[in-house]
Symmetry: C2
Subunit: 495 residues, 2 copies
């Protein structure tokens, strides 16, 4: 308030953004603000042109005047008449539209509301965080590590794929024989862990999901490996017919049969991508600072994810069982919305932990150059854009090895697109149902429901409304599926 | 997903805003993505200049190529090599900064969290809304309307001020006599309602606050009325000495003694301003649509304010009494944060209801031209800016009749500013303590605490941080004062 006068006025002028024109409907009747009386001095004061009537810089003008003139002249122009014809800022007629502070308001309100929830939770439940308990999610019997054994066994399938490709490159296997071996190999990769999880009782749901996740990644990688090597053979055969002598270029690059080494295979197996390539882009060196930051993030978010799940998710899920059993709709709704916030925050943290910290960590360690593991899905205005951009490795694989091959075989775009969603729905269900040993199709239906949702959002909602719809489907859809599975699991196991 | 190819790529290009340059630290080692093998076709594919390595429009380029070339050439450039050296968007090295979707996320999260709270409240308390109950806040005894009587009595003081000014203009009263009468009149306006509220037991706290508010408005208006008329006399005397003949100008304007009519006085009394002026700017006509919209808003927000207070505020306040008595700090904190959200939303609604709907309604009805009842305080980056802009009628009065006169009398800016805050603190306390019949100085201290807060925010926090600090002080400060008063009132009355 020390700068009540000029400084305040300039700040107001700097901040207030008024749209020009807009035909103000408050036309001054007797010349806006004039001096108290014509007899009281110089006939009125100047200014007051219609262009100025939307109330911005008149205070500044008056103040700069008052510096030059005496108090008596200020009294005439400023003190005796201090009103001016103008609209309120929130009237649509004012043309005002600067609500920058509202974003800050949203952030402050979110932090304060969640601080309250955090405090309420602590007061009600005490501290539930217990890092040791996490181990029990992976292990039932400390002398039996079925999930770890399964991951070690997966190396066999990798070696089978490499061996098959080597024989194919040498011509020892014909193409149909190679295709058959690959098909058998991939089928076993898909079914072997299912058999183990369903028959070995010491596999926990979390351990099973972990092993199945690894096997799914291996499956997609080996599928890509076989495809690319086949394309290379096709190309070199075509070259050999057309111009067999062209052998120029960078000597550091690996050419087709030269890539079929154990080292190359394992680089691909560990690289944060699902699409095979003979010469991956490489970064020049390992940046130790970058590596360390990602490592700290990984450790920090692992702890935080575990702590928040134990402290925040599990009490809500436990308290939701009763309303779900009773089919008490309004209470179910309340629990769903209550679960939505922690579930969504955990998902966001998981996203950052996996797609930014972990994948960048492994990429930096392997000097893998392509760090595009996600795109700007947070600005997605359509459901399609979200699914194309939140998980780039899977999206890239689907595009290269599934969607485009389907298009080349003459399928229409809409059929190919639905096939991609169907494949995705299959793997979602696969990764959830098998570890829980329970087939409910919630995950499958959740993924398939994206198709009509994408159609609806794409056709009826645009811009920020589309973006908000994508967020809502994320925030509400996930806890719905989580509650469904937990409820069914609970009913199946404990009743 | 129907537009997986070109359309998706252009959308990505349109959306992703990448800062130029920023010296990407992932320099490609073997020429970014090249074809699988130099022998496999045209020596690599073009593109891949360092300027493109921040991963934006390469998909678009590849797609436009694939339209012209055959599938075989697409296979070389796109399918065999699908990786490129680039940073993740969230890495600081990427220079990416488009988080527009985050605002939508904030809005969605706020709506969903509050929908949850709303549902929880309904389930726990049932429907508490009862419009009839509101009447009992104003009236204890339906045959005794003390607050309404006090408002009617206030006309006497208005007439006294008008009579005194008339006598002064005719010279019947000398200036010292006039000043004395005005001083007595204003003192009685300040003290009479206090005496009534403290002695008449049938005045309810809400009724008392209403009557005191009206009296405070009358006080400020009559102070301004006296000041402006005195300035007019000063001016006309000065004119009479210098150039007595100048009598030109607009005949529709009222000149000094001509304004001392009952009609003019009551126009000022009802006009939505505290600063008197001989010729208020007038709007040309009453816009019926505008008037109707404001009326509907007034009725709607009145209902909503009452309903939310009954349903949301009162249960929280009631449940806060126990922790406050026990001085249980963590539970008090939890209740404070729990109260902060509804209290703040009610304050925002009250702001809109009073400063936009009600004042614009009365202004439209009176064809009062100056609708600047508030400024863009929501963007305030300093506490000072907030206090200068959220309540323009009071701010204008303080500036014109208190702050500037103090400056002219030779007080420093900092002293005058503190005096304004002191005056404001006095009236805040006056409007709260008297109706509650309880002197605790929480409101006074709350206002005076704005001075060090303003100093702190002004000197240490800038831009969005300053704005967030202003919001936090609003969101947390108010419920703190509310809880203090309610607690003390509860302890005093019911224990």
């Amino acid at each position: 308030m020390a700068d009540l006068g000029a400084a305040g006025a300039t700040r107001r002028r700097r901040r207030a953004t008024f749209a020009a024109g807009r035909g103000g409907s408050l036309v001054p009747m007797n010349g806006a603000s004039a001096a108290a009386c014509p007899s009281a001095g110089t006939a009125g004061h100047s200014g007051d042109t219609p262009g100025q009537k939307h109330g911005s810089p008149e205070t500044a003008r008056v103040n700069s005047k008052s510096e030059k003139h005496t108090w008596r002249s200020e009294k005439q122009s400023d003190v005796l008449s201090c009103h001016k014809t103008r609209e309120s800022l929130l009237s649509s007629e004012s043309g005002y539209n600067n609500y920058r502070g509202i974003l800050n308001w949203c952030v402050v309100m979110l932090i304060l509301s969640n601080a309250r929830l955090f405090l309420e939770n602590l007061l009600r439940h005490g501290i539930l965080v217990d890092p040791i308990q996490v181990v029990s999610l992976f292990l039932k019997d400390p002398y039996s590590w079925p999930a770890a054994c399964m991951v070690i066994v997966s190396n066999i399938f990798i070696m089978v794929a490499l061996y098959t490709e080597r024989q194919l490159s040498k011509g020892s296997f014909s193409e149909p024989v190679g295709l058959t071996i690959h098909c058998i190999n991939l089928t076993v990769i898909l079914t072997f862990p299912v058999a183990v999880v369903l028959t070995v009782p010491s596999v926990t749901p979390v351990g099973g999901a972990f092993a199945l996740g690894i096997y799914t990644i291996v499956l997609l990688k080996l599928y890509s490996y076989r495809d690319v090597n086949m394309w290379c053979r096709d190309l070199s055969r075509a070259k050999a017919k057309n111009c067999p002598a062209v052998k120029s270029g960078d000597s550091s690059k690996v050419c087709y049969p030269g890539n079929l080494t154990i080292k190359d295979m394992y680089y691909f197996a560990f690289a944060p991508t699902l699409c095979y390539e003979l010469n991956f882009p490489r970064s020049p060196k390992i940046r130790m600072g970058f590596l360390l930051r990602r490592l700290v993030e990984m450790l920090f978010f692992t702890q935080l994810l575990v702590a928040l799940t134990q402290q925040w998710m599990i009490p809500i899920i436990q308290s939701s069982m009763k309303p779900l059993e009773d089919m008490d709709l309004s209470r179910m709704m309340e629990r769903l919305l209550r679960l939505a916030v922690p579930n969504h925050l955990l998902w966001l943290m998981f996203f950052y932990w996996f797609f930014h910290s972990s994948l960048n960590f492994s990429a930096e360690l392997l000097r893998f150059g392509d760090r595009q593991f996600y795109n700007d899905w947070w600005n997605a205005e359509t459901v399609t854009y979200f699914w194309q951009n939140w998980n780039i490795p899977v999206h890239k694989w689907c595009l290269r090895h599934f969607y485009k091959p389907l298009l080349r075989r003459g399928f229409s775009k809409i059929v190919s697109q639905s096939a991609v969603f169907f494949l995705s729905a299959f793997f979602h269900e696969y990764l959830v149902s098998i570890p829980l040993r329970m087939f409910r199709l919630w995950a499958f239906m959740g993924m398939m429901a994206q198709l009509p949702l994408a159609w609806f959002v794409g056709n009826f909602l645009h811009g920020n409304y589309g973006n908000a719809a994508v967020w809502i489907s994320l925030i509400v859809g996930q806890p719905f599926a989580v509650l469904m599975y937990v409820h069914d699991y609970y009913v199946l196991r404990y009743q």
